[in-house]
Structures are given as C-alpha cells and as structure tokens.
C-alpha cells in the first residue's frame, strides 16, 4: 500500500498494463518525451520505446481513428486526448464508429480501445480547457464511460478499461490529478466497470456524485454530520452502464436523494438519475430529488470569481443538503 495522487495512479496502471500485455500501447499528443501535458505518461517512452508510446500529430480525428483501427486489428490502444475540450474532431470516430462496431457487424469485429480524457474545471482553464463533456459520451449505447474520483479507483478502473473488450472513454478530472491523494495497493488489482461505490455511509439522505465534486460532497457531508444530518455519498465511478441498483438501494434506505455534478444541469446525468429514482423508488421518497450542477452557460469562465461562480463547491452543496434535510 502506498499513498499516491490520481495522476500517479493513472501512470502506474498504464505502466503495469503495458508490462502485462504487449498488445497495449499508447498514443496521443506530447505523450512521449514530454510525458504528456499532465505527465500521465512520464517515463513510459524510456521504458517501452517510441513504437509503443506514439507521439501523434495534433490531429484528434486520426488519434481516434488510428486507435480504432488498431483495436479492431487485435491491439489494445490507450489514446490520450490532451484536453477533453479538444475531443470533438474525434467524436466521429468514437461515437459515430467505435460505439457501433460490434453492433453493426453482429460481433464480427470489436473495438477494445481506451480513450483517456482529462476533463473538468477549477483549474483556471477558461472556456476551452475546463469542460465537462462526459454526458455526450454517456448517452451513447456501445460505449462504456468511466469517471473515477480517487487514486484507488483510477488505477483499478483504468486496468479494467484496458482489459475490456468494448470501447471505453475514461474521464480523468484534471483538478483531482494532484489534489486528491489516497492509498493504492502495490501491484495488480482491478475494479469492475459498472459498479458505484458508497464513499460515505449515512441514513438521512443519499447524495449521488462522481469526479472532483464527489470530494466536495464528502466535505459537505462532514459539515452536515456536525449538524446532526447523516449523509450517504454514492460515487458512481461508471457513467455507462449506470449502477442503478446501488443508487436505488441507498435511496430506499434514506428516502431523500440529491445528485451533484460539475457539468451543466439540464439534460444531464442528474436528470437521468432523478428519473431512475422516480421510476423505481417513487414511493420510498420523502422529498423531490434535488440537483446541484453547473449553471446554464456554455462553459466555465476564466477569471477566478467567475470560475467560482460556475463551480459547485462544498458550501453550495452543504446549503442544498440543509434544504433537503429540512424538507
């Protein structure tokens, strides 16, 4: 067991998977000598060489397309999209093509690729380095979408993603990279895709979240505990397929539910979770399902007070928790 950051956990998972399976290789912008703009691939080119750590041209469509072709032809590519905000040229290859390979060929081909996507704000990234874009991918059947919040989950889930036989979009929140530390077992372990995790057990309300703001939920829950409100925090970890069983089990226990995400609210993950709860656990509810999410502006602004206005914070979440507790 060692304490490490999220970025170190990602790097260790990549290194171990590349050591384990010669079919695993990585490609992306600046991932070689530079080690990636966030240093996720630092040291990999020295260990595995330029043939398995491929610096690509600045061309996301071909990063997606080349990864897809290699995956269809028996390799296990892990492509890095430098910033999630830059992913759109690759969407044709990912949502358009990779997600449909298995279905559109009746299983005659599959696309076991991983796209690692740094995303999210609170890093002074402005409108084009802060976006939460996971819902666009989580909407697409055929893809699996993962968004871990801790080093332990990041390592175990990235290993599962590499070994999975379907295309996986792996969202890494940039602000968690160095901010969030945690214990990670030495050596090999995996965490199953599609399983949420109760990060804090509680009896008075269920808060469903993922990514950076899941930590803000834990902070807020600690504050509420001092006020006598016992909050359960469910970390989704996987956004497709959703682990609705864990969410519903928690809601049936607490009878109150809230969803927290950094992405904007409308037509989002929170709406989907709320709908699932309404469909399956309506009679267990003592209050309407509450959502805390990003505001309805196109993306997160640059200047600090404007950025803070956008970001869900522990304080904003705690306020919402108090409202829900009082309902």
């Amino acid at each position: 067991m060692a304490e490490m950051t999220v970025i170190e956990a990602v790097r260790e998972a990549l290194r171990e998977e590349m050591e384990r399976d010669p079919a695993v290789f990585t490609l992306g912008e600046d991932i070689g000598a530079r080690g990636g703009v966030f240093l996720a691939t630092e040291g990999l080119i020295e260990q595995f060489g330029a043939e398995r750590v491929i610096d690509t041209p600045l061309a996301e469509a071909s990063i997606g397309g080349v990864a897809l072709g290699a995956a269809v032809n028996g390799m296990r590519p892990v492509a890095e999209i430098e910033f999630g905000d830059f992913i759109w040229p690759a969407v044709n290859q990912v949502i358009g093509e990779a997600a449909r390979v298995r279905y559109g060929t009746q299983g005659r081909r599959s696309a076991p690729l991983v796209l690692r996507v740094p995303y999210g704000g609170g890093v002074r990234g402005g409108l084009f380095h802060s976006q939460s874009i996971e819902v666009a991918f989580a909407h697409q059947p055929g893809l699996k979408v993962i968004a871990p919040s801790t080093p332990y989950d990041a390592k175990g889930l990235l290993k599962s993603a590499v070994r999975d036989d379907d295309p996986v979009i792996f969202f890494e929140h940039k602000r968690t990279y160095r901010l969030v530390k945690g214990d990670v077992p030495n050596g090999d372990y995996t965490i199953p895709i599609g399983q949420a995790d109760v990060k804090r057990a509680g009896s008075d309300m269920t808060v469903v979240s993922y990514g950076l703001v899941m930590h803000y939920c834990l902070e807020a829950a600690a504050a509420l505990a001092e006020e006598g409100v016992d909050v359960e925090v469910v970390d989704l970890r996987t956004l497709r397929p959703l682990d609705t069983d864990t969410v519903l089990e928690s809601v049936r226990k607490t009878s109150k539910a809230m969803v927290v995400h950094e992405d904007t609210k409308a037509i989002g993950i929170g709406g989907e979770i709320a709908a699932v709860i309404a469909d399956e656990a309506f009679e267990d509810l003592d209050a309407p399902v509450k959502r805390v999410a990003g505001p309805e502006v196109p993306a997160m602004p640059f200047s600090p007070l404007l950025e803070a206005e956008f970001m869900p914070s522990a304080e904003k979440i705690a306020t919402a928790m108090r409202e829900l507790a009082a309902y």
Binding site: G69, R100, D165
Partner: protein, 358 residues
C-alpha cells in the same frame, strides 16, 4: 517524390506500368486467362448491379449505390492483392470488389433486400456495410460516413507493423471523401510511420452532385501525395491491367516496408449517386455523352477477342452464366425471410460484460 500521371481514357497509356518513376518492382504480367477471369467478374458485377437497380425501381431493394463504371478499377485492384493476406476497408460502391473477393451474389442480394443471413451485419446496416468473418476475408465497412475508414485502415496497418505481420491494408474511397480532413490526417500519419497502406481513390468526378472543379483546385487527387512525401499514381480506371499494375507496385512497396501509396483510378459514374438521386438535375447531358463508349466491359471483351482468348461461344457462355447465377440468387434472396428482432439487443456490448442486455 514524383507523382506519375497517366492520361485517363487515352488508350496509348492504358497499359503503361505505373509507379515506374519510383523504380518499384511491378506485379507479374497478366496472361489472357487472368484477364478472362477478371472479365467474368466484371460481367457478373454488371448483371448483378443492373438487377439490384431494377429491384430498387420495383420497390424491392431500398437503396443502391451502383458500381457501374467502377468495375475495371475494382477488379484490377483485387487482382494485385491477396484476399487471404490483405485487409480491405471498402466504401459503399464496392460491388465488384466484393465479388472479386469471393462474396457471392446471393450474399450481396441478401444485403440489398435486408434479409436474414446477410453476412456483414445481419442486415442491421445498409448493403455492403459491416464486416465479413475475419477467418474468411478481412473486409470491413463500418459506416456510411465518408473517409472514416481511412484513419481506421491506418490503425489496422499500424497494428500489423507492430506485430511484424506482412500484410497490406487497402483504404477505398471516392473523390468526395478526398475532401475530408480525415483523409489528410490518415495519409499524414501513414506516411510518418511508413505504414503498409494503399489509399485507393476511385475518382468518378462527382461528389453526389458536386463536380470535381468545385471539389478541388487541382487536376488530380494523386498529386496530393506530394504533400505527404509518398508516391501518388493516377491511372485510367477503365483499364483493369493498368490498375492491376499500379496497385501491384503499391503493394510491393508496402510489403517491402517502404510505406503507403496513393493510387487514383479515374473512372466514370454511369448512374446517379444512388437510387435516391436524380442526376439530370445537375449533370449536363453532354457530360454523359460518349462516356458509355468507354465502358470497360466491352473494351475488355474487345481486347480478349483480339488476342484470341475469347470467341462468340465463350462470351455467350460467360454472359448467360452470369445471368443464371443472378437469377438464382434473386430467387433465393427473395425467398429468404427478414431477420426477426430476437437478437435485437445482442452485441451492443461483449457477451457477459457490463451493460450486456442479450
């Protein structure tokens, strides 16, 4: 790098070895029997194509993108490749390619009629889309979106190179797809890594309704190869032997580790873009005049007759055999059932994996 251009539709350049500017070794010279076999495939493709078009007009086939006018280019290219060794990332106009790779008229008709047992997608997709069982032949066409297959083919070739396998991956596309950004990205990536890819452009001079002059400010797609530091070869796509030689040279380069080649086969589209298109709205009558005089099928017939490889009796036998095969395939395809939705949820995800609903 040089871009060798032969003049399309000029008989004097029809059989000029392509790629000679690179001093590449060409493929073995074709004999009369080879050409006769190619002729058989072209005739079968034409008869089948006409039948499918007819069935569309009868309301029995929902959609068809005809290969009429592309047959010589497609049969010539496959002749230079190895169906067991190589990988084929085709696009929607590849009826002759499919026949040349051994896919049967019945299997193709099952696709056009969206019937059970269709071998690429189980009729989940448009005709000619999906993938053939890999053990049989690595033919792939994942989508209708043009040019997406180019970077995919590059990734396929990258995987072969990483494993040290000697294979050629062919990415088929049209002049329309040559305008897509992914075409540029694919050629650039393949050139950087010297990957065993042939970019095979069938230039029929129209992107649906948009003529070449409004698609590009150059005479030949092949000249773009210069931008990637790879050979670009323009050949007369009505001459199956010229196409065979160009693709053969490109395959030899790929197998020797010398990287990708852009081959542009200049052809004509005898029919509208698809059965849903009306080319009289945009294609001048004079544009179509004379094109059918250049039809590669009668031209090949003439060549074979001149060399004594074909006489009336044999030609009659070839044509009636094609008719018979297509008639039987039509009957069998019509009698086949539509697929039931019993496996509707299968293969969204790997069987047994998270999210699997089968």
């Amino acid at each position: 790098m040089l871009s060798e251009q032969t003049s399309p539709n000029n008989p004097e350049t029809n059989s000029r070895p392509a790629g000679s500017a690179e001093n590449d070794a060409g493929p073995p010279t074709l004999n009369d029997n080879d050409l006769l076999e190619m002729y058989r495939t072209m005739v079968l493709s034409r008869v089948l194509d006409q039948r499918i078009w007819q069935m569309n007009r009868q309301g029995r086939a929902a959609i068809v993108a005809s290969a009429q006018g592309h047959e010589a280019a497609q049969v010539g290219a496959i002749r230079a490749l190895d169906p067991e060794r190589d990988r084929f990332y085709i696009y929607y106009r590849e009826l002759t390619t499919m026949l040349a790779l051994g896919i049967t008229p019945l299997e193709l008709l099952l696709g056009f009629l969206a019937k059970d047992g269709e071998p690429l997608s189980g009729a989940r997709q448009f005709p000619l889309h999906g993938a053939i069982d890999r053990q049989r032949c690595d033919i792939v066409s994942f989508s209708n979106v043009v040019a997406t297959q180019l970077p995919q083919a590059v990734g396929v070739a990258l995987a072969d190179k990483m494993r040290g396998e000697k294979r050629v991956t062919v990415a088929y596309f049209g002049d329309g797809a040559s305008s897509m950004g992914e075409t540029h990205e694919a050629m650039n990536f393949a050139a950087i890594h010297r990957l065993p890819v042939i970019f095979f452009c069938e230039n029929n001079k129209y992107a649906i309704s948009v003529p070449l002059a409004q698609q590009m400010n150059i005479e030949s797609v092949a000249t773009r190869a210069t931008a990637y530091g790879i050979p670009g070869i323009e050949v007369n796509g009505f001459d199956p032997v010229a196409v065979y030689e160009a693709v053969g040279a490109a395959a030899n380069r790929a197998l020797a580790g010398d990287g990708p080649t852009l081959v542009e086969a200049v052809v004509e589209r005898f029919l509208p873009h698809t059965s849903d298109d009306d080319d009289t709205r945009y294609r001048p009558a004079e544009d179509l005049e004379g094109i059918r005089d250049l039809d590669p099928i009668p031209a090949t017939e003439k060549l074979l007759r001149a060399s004594g490889a074909l006489d009336d009796a044999l030609d009659q036998e070839i044509k009636s055999a094609a008719q018979k095969i297509v008639n039987q395939a039509t009957e069998d395809a019509e009698n086949a059932p539509f697929p039931e939705p019993h496996d509707f949820y299968d293969q969204v995800y790997a069987p047994g994996s998270p999210g699997d609903q089968s």
